[in-house]
């Protein structure tokens, strides 16, 4: 049986450099909310918000680091699986913009013939998005009493 999502406290969140693929100009998510209010409320009602948000914030840097390593090793299945998981878990936690950003990466990986590059500008955008999202999650988690 799997381990449950842990309850480690959130301290400083450092986002490692985010790998990017060649994506079409303008394909990065625009205008999606950092956190979907209805999902936040659902998680709160289920008593999960105070547990899952800190756990996600803690796990995210490692996940991104693994994605970077997969990119460095040109491990296509690994990249796709990680991007897919990040996309799904972000969406499930209401991090809509972040989910869409990982979705862009996953979709690019699915496309035949995609090539890899380190686009500093887009990488910076995603890093900023990760920071903004995790900060918003930390605020929501802090505002949710333990259950």
């Amino acid at each position: 049986m799997r381990d449950r999502v842990n309850d480690e406290p959130v301290t400083n969140v450092h986002s490692p450099p985010i790998p990017v693929v060649d994506v079409q100009p303008g394909s990065a998510p625009v205008g999606a909310p950092l956190l979907d209010a209805s999902v936040v409320e659902t998680l709160r009602q289920l008593g999960l918000l105070g547990r899952l948000y800190p756990a996600f914030i803690t796990a995210l840097p490692d996940q991104i680091a693994r994605l970077s390593a997969a990119v460095a090793a040109d491990d296509r299945p690994g990249m796709r699986m990680l991007a897919h998981t990040l996309r799904g878990s972000s969406a499930q936690l209401g991090a809509t913009a972040l989910s869409e950003a990982f979705g862009v990466i996953e979709d690019a990986l699915v496309r035949d013939g995609c090539s890899w590059s380190a686009d500093p500008e887009l990488s910076a955008e995603l890093s900023a998005l990760v920071r903004a999202t995790t900060a918003a999650m930390a605020r929501e988690a802090a505002a949710t009493p333990d259950r």
Partner: protein, 403 residues
Amino acid sequence: MRVLVADDDPFSAAVMEALIRSAGLECLLASDGHEAWQLLQTADAPRIVFLDWMMPEIDGIELCRRIRVRATHEYTYVAILSSRNKQRDITLGFQSGADDFITKPYQTEEVLARLRVAERLIRSTGASVNLRRAIAEARESSGGDVIVRAEHRVGRIIFDRGRVAWAHISDEPGSLAAILAGEGSITREEVRAVLEECSATGENFADVLVAWGLITRELLRTVLTRWIQTKIARIAAFPAPVVIFSPESRVASSGVLLDPEEVIAPDLLHSAVTPDNGPLMVPGGATAHALSDDLARRIPQSLQQAIQIEGALSAAIFDLRDGLCLGARGEAVDLDLVWSKLRLAAMSDIWDDLEDIMISTRQHIYVLRPYTKAPPRSIFLAIDRATTKLGMVRRALAECVIA
């Protein structure tokens, strides 16, 4: 009932687990396809399975295919979980043998409604009409065994004067002495001594236990209820069973008789939807949604109108969100049949394009039609094939609905 969630994403799995538990069901988690497959090999494997499409080791689609080729296992309800939501993905999911396809991120109400559909289906696939008939006969008898056989396995539900005395499965351990010894409060030596006393005096095992102060009658009853409940649920889940009721008189060894309602699932205790002029609950843990005063008035009128259609045998209206039967008229309707049709109707994307669904058998035609679209309710009509003009029925039924 236990539900398996196989998902390598711990966050999605945690949300699904919370939803399942909120529905009162037990949840097992597996973090990859291999672990899920191992859990599905166990004797008491969950019969409702939610599989993430993309997982390490074995993906959800492949796992679903493997589940479907197992001929010797009880039917397993499989829902594919995925953030893929394109039509071809959904089609591929169903082609792999899935019963359902749930897209991420999960919508709470949708998942809960689909869980209820899964629960009903599993209950109805195990709860054959014959089993329910046999139980009904046993309840009316002075005593005897409901015998359920699936290949080499034989389950027995032992009745005594309309109440349940015991349940047993041939290839599983199950003596009362072993159960009580397993409880920890009574040693095997004590059980052995009690058995010797019973053998010498002819007294009832339970009576001696209680008389010797080894267990209270209340605790004994609690232990037995739990045990028998579990056994009967497992017997009811036998795949494609042969079922008979064998009347015979015997003395129950435990000395404790339980009301059938305490140990048998409600759907096994109701042979059919009974004709009724008032609101009617469908067994299976359905939760009522409030009806507006207007709708509460309209439903009996609609049913009355429907049952007067030429050739109509039965009419019923169901809430598709939770399977609640809001009312019925006419002859009794087989719940298994209605549920199977409802499940089809519950696929909203089908309803979007169809006016009604008809299923014909040699003698009957069953027509399902949306009664209200939001929230989704459906009217079900059983008609006599020999005496009915189908076009007329469809037109007449269309006049009964609100949607």
